[in-house]
């Protein structure tokens, strides 16, 4: 095979590093980009550069933001008494979409996983304790981590560290997904749903 453009090849190589993008898709994207006008290419390139250079982490909650503090931490209309603890910033996005929670967030930046060399010190757990012990008047810490082994261990650990504080520690309920029938629920989920049942 004879290459006619070194630049095209370079673009394909970079694009194929994107998640879920193989060489074939990368080729398709590169050729698509080549066909667009200059303005579009410039906009895309700038968006990528801004993404890397201008998006920062909020020093209070650890969420991604353009400003510090982020607009959730800075919003005086949100309730001060509740902090929802999540694994990553995309979890904030998912919870925000529900419009159910009006308190503040705390992004841990991962979960405890010794075999990946992630311990409590690699996560923003000390920051959480500082917030709870500080002057935010926090009454409730809501743990919203994934219900897998690592999420459970992390929840357990945080709960333990929070015992000396005068704060209520809760976790989101586990149970039946909406729109499904009992028949199709696996045993583990169903028995979890029974243990965390609530008054009607």
């Amino acid at each position: 095979m004879q290459l006619t453009s070194e630049y095209l090849e370079r673009a394909i190589e970079q694009l194929s590093k994107l998640p879920g993008t193989g060489r074939k898709s990368a080729q398709r994207i590169a050729i698509h980009l080549l066909k667009q006008n200059d303005e579009y290419a410039l906009k895309l390139a700038n968006a990528i550069i801004d993404l890397k250079q201008k998006v920062i982490r909020c020093s209070t909650c650890g969420n991604v933001s353009d400003a510090d503090p982020c607009n959730i931490c800075d919003n005086s209309k949100r309730e001060n008494g509740q902090i929802c603890v999540v694994e990553e910033f995309n979890d904030v996005y998912i919870i925000e979409k529900t419009n159910e929670f009006r308190g503040r967030y705390h992004v841990l930046g991962g979960v405890i996983s010794p075999m990946d060399n992630v311990g409590p010190d690699q996560l923003k757990i000390q920051d959480l304790l500082k917030r709870v012990g500080g002057n935010e008047h926090i009454k409730e810490v809501i743990l919203a981590l994934n219900p897998d082994a690592e999420g459970e261990a992390t929840s357990y650990y945080i709960n333990k560290l929070l015992t000396p504080y005068e704060v209520k520690v809760t976790r989101i309920a586990y149970g039946i997904p909406m729109g499904t029938e009992l028949e199709f629920i696996d045993e583990a989920t169903l028995s979890r749903a029974f243990t965390s049942r609530s008054a009607f």
Binding site: I112, S113, P114, M115, N117, G119, P120, A149, E150, E152, A153, T154, Y156, Y157, K160, D186, E187, A188
Partner: protein
């Protein structure tokens, strides 16, 4: 449960094979290396998402090809008609589809079509180390309890995490204690469920084993088994948890020293007895063979009583090892078994006297060089 039709593509030595009619009893015969075992291994893949012969998926692909693909049409009483497909390629790994819908977890497949396999490898069950018996038991219970399989996978992961901690903080035992606590709780929860399930199943299984050994051996030697774990497993799950915590506390120093988890079902053992002697130590060749055979027959009969759908029973090349009398007993037992059966054998002779191959209920499939050359 029954498989009605089977399609293989690039699977072991089969380039493309279709079997569109599979009745109650199927005897697959042909010369050595013709692809008899591959045919039933394909069915095993569709039931358990793995081979019973090879440990690695990639060695199962036909030489020179990059993928394999299997499809089976099943019918049962709980789920009436459904199709299971399994594909594997070096790039994309393994995927399972049920009625064209992909399964998120391969483990969701287990138990959908229960299967029991008798193979020459079974002799390892009673002779080799405890890992053989644990994996027999795990596959046994996983097919009847999805919860068990999930506990098993959780337990394995939690143990790995815990072992990592023990390695990382071997020099800081004070820190270690605090970090271990969240994992200990989960280890105990999953581990206690596993121990409780193993105990309960084995208690019931004893009677099946005794009955099948007596049937196949024609002798009055009684069989027994003992489930050995770190605690008294007969006291129910909550008490198992209590004992588990105590044992963990007791072994902590040793665990730190050895840098690994030392208490739990991953070290369980099942001891088999024949008469009042331990089989592994004192059993003769013949006794081992009959015992292994009885274990699988007992599994079949246990499933048949316990499950709504009868398991598929596969016998891979086991008749060559049996004397004419035992062959006769086994064949009679199979004839009366209501579930679907697959037998592979290089030699069709022992079957022809006992089974009438009418093509309707009993079918003889002849294979040569991975192609079906005749059916009766």
């Amino acid at each position: 449960m029954q498989i009605k039709a089977l399609k293989l593509q690039n699977f072991r030595n089969h380039e493309s094979t279709l079997v569109d009619w599979l009745p109650h009893l199927n005897v697959i015969t042909g010369p050595n290396g013709a692809g008899k075992t591959s045919l039933i291994d394909a069915i095993h893949y569709l039931c358990m998402s793995r081979s019973f012969v090879s440990n690695s998926d990639q060695y199962v692909i036909l030489q020179g090809e990059s993928y394999f693909m299997l499809k089976g049409d099943f019918s049962g009483t709980v789920r009436s008609e459904f199709e299971v497909a399994c594909s594997y390629s070096r790039g994309d790994g393994k995927k399972i589809f049920v009625n064209d819908g992909p399964l998120d977890r391969l483990s969701d497949l287990i138990g959908m079509v229960p299967v029991v396999v008798l193979s020459p490898d079974d002799k390892r069950l009673t002779r080799e180390g405890p890992i053989e018996r644990r994996s027999f038991l795990d596959s046994f219970i996983s097919q009847i309890s999805n919860q068990y399989l999930r506990d098993l996978l959780d337990y394995r992961r939690i143990r790995r995490q815990r072992n990592s901690l023990l390695q990382q903080y071997a020099n800081a035992p004070h820190m270690l204690e605090m970090y271990l606590e969240p994992w200990n709780k989960q280890l105990v929860d999953a581990g206690a469920s596993i121990v409780d399930a193993r105990h309960k199943v084995l208690e019931k299984f004893k009677a099946y084993l005794a009955q099948d050994y007596a049937m196949i051996s024609g002798m009055n030697l009684t069989t027994d088994l003992e489930y050995k774990t770190f605690c008294d497993a007969s006291v129910g799950i909550e008490d198992i948890k209590k004992q588990y915590y105590d044992k963990l506390a007791e072994s902590q120093e040793k665990e730190i020293e050895r840098e690994q988890t030392l208490v739990g079902p991953h070290r369980d053992e099942i001891v088999f007895y024949l008469g009042d002697r331990e089989l592994r130590q004192y059993g003769s060749q013949g006794q081992h063979r009959l015992f292994a055979l009885s274990l699988k027959l007992a599994q079949l009969h246990y499933y048949s009583d316990e499950l709504d759908d009868l398991p598929i029973f596969m016998l891979d090349d086991v008749f060559g090892d049996l004397d004419p009398q035992k062959t006769q007993i086994l064949l009679e037992a199979l004839k009366n078994h209501p579930g679907q059966i697959f037998i592979t054998s290089a030699n069709p002779v022992p079957f022809e006297d006992v089974i009438e191959f009418d093509g309707e209920r009993n079918q003889l499939i002849r294979i040569e060089q991975a192609e079906i050359v005749g059916k009766e």
